[in-house]
Amino acid sequence: MLKIVDSAVPVACWSCSAAHKASALFCSNCSKIQPPPSGEYFSVFGLRPQLNLDLDALERELHRLSRRLHPDRFARASENEREWSLADTALLNDAYRTLKDPLRRTEYLLKLHGAEIGEEHAGKDRRDPSRVPPDLLEEVFDLNMQLEEMRSARQAGETDQELEKNLVEAKKKFDGLLEEVDRDLRAQWQAWDEGDQAAREAAQKTMAALLDRRRYLNNLVRDVTETLGA
């Protein structure tokens, strides 16, 4: 379970006993490597949780920390330190992969704030109709029907020009809707990064709904692309 560990609360270095940030990979006093921190991913990079990120700076920081953590540098260190260099490197890479991807970053931040996202949490809010817009549902269903029709026509060795034209049109439309969702998400990033508590909570709710919508659209575009490309 994810939770926000206050990385400002210091922990003692195993080597020099000086207090350092709980999220630090290295002691700020003696520079010794530390066991994998328990905090969230943003703090590993010395960042506060935020959605607009400077990806170039993030990558530079990844390279800098990776070099410092490289197992070769710990060949003669204690067994603990050798182990930590591997564990810290794995954590750093997980953190980077999560934060660099805009959707994974958004999902991660929402999870940090208690949102239940992912298949394992499915069905919990099922009585909340706002989560599944009915008009979109109709469209998703109809398009899936058309896709199936087209696949079976192809299997029979036929091409239905009309149907293919429809699907190309539909793909264009859903691509456009995806772009719209992504624009909306970015607007919410801003609202979250700059907002107060109330504004953040509102943005979190909106973002969770946008991610749901995006998943639908994304599956559709993927299926249409596959079928048209087959």
């Binding site: 394992e120 499915a122 069905g123 009915p134 549902l137 998703v140």
Partner: protein, 139 residues
């Protein structure tokens, strides 16, 4: 993750796949979706107006094997039951029958929702008052 034999069986030989005439007075249609995985499920029933027995049930599901199996099983179960009786089917019954793992429980939830939506649509069409059960649930 391995699917149970029953899921595989329903997936390979889905029962009652198809479409009923949406505009018919005797037909109720439920269209539901799970945003978490992008699955969509349509379940339709044809109800005998005299006896209120579900004489025909058809489904069409776009989704994973568990979603297809859940809706296939749902149509099997509601056929021959009265609408009131069909409403007593719970997603947990489906979970048990198909041995669905926790991560796929939402597929059974979707199937239960689809039954309720189809019956709800039929009731609305036919001006049948909501049952005491539904009234309690709405509170």
């Amino acid at each position: 993750m391995a699917y149970s034999d029953k899921v595989v069986d329903h997936y390979n030989n889905p029962r009652n796949v198809g479409t009923l005439d949406k505009s018919s007075q005797e037909v109720g249609t439920g269209l539901v979706g799970a945003p978490e995985c992008g699955d969509v499920m349509r379940l339709q029933i044809r109800v005998n107006p005299e006896t209120q027995v579900i004489e025909e049930a058809k489904f069409k599901t776009f989704g994973c094997g568990s979603a297809i199996a859940s809706s296939s099983l749902a149509t099997e179960w509601i056929k021959g039951r009265t609408v009131e009786d069909a409403l007593t089917i719970k997603n947990t019954d489906i979970v048990k029958e198909l041995s669905l793992p926790p991560v796929k429980i939402h597929c059974s939830v979707l199937a239960e929702d689809a039954i309720r939506a189809a019956i709800g649509d039929w009731k609305k069409k036919n001006g049948v008052a909501e049952t005491a059960q539904a009234a309690v649930a709405a509170k």
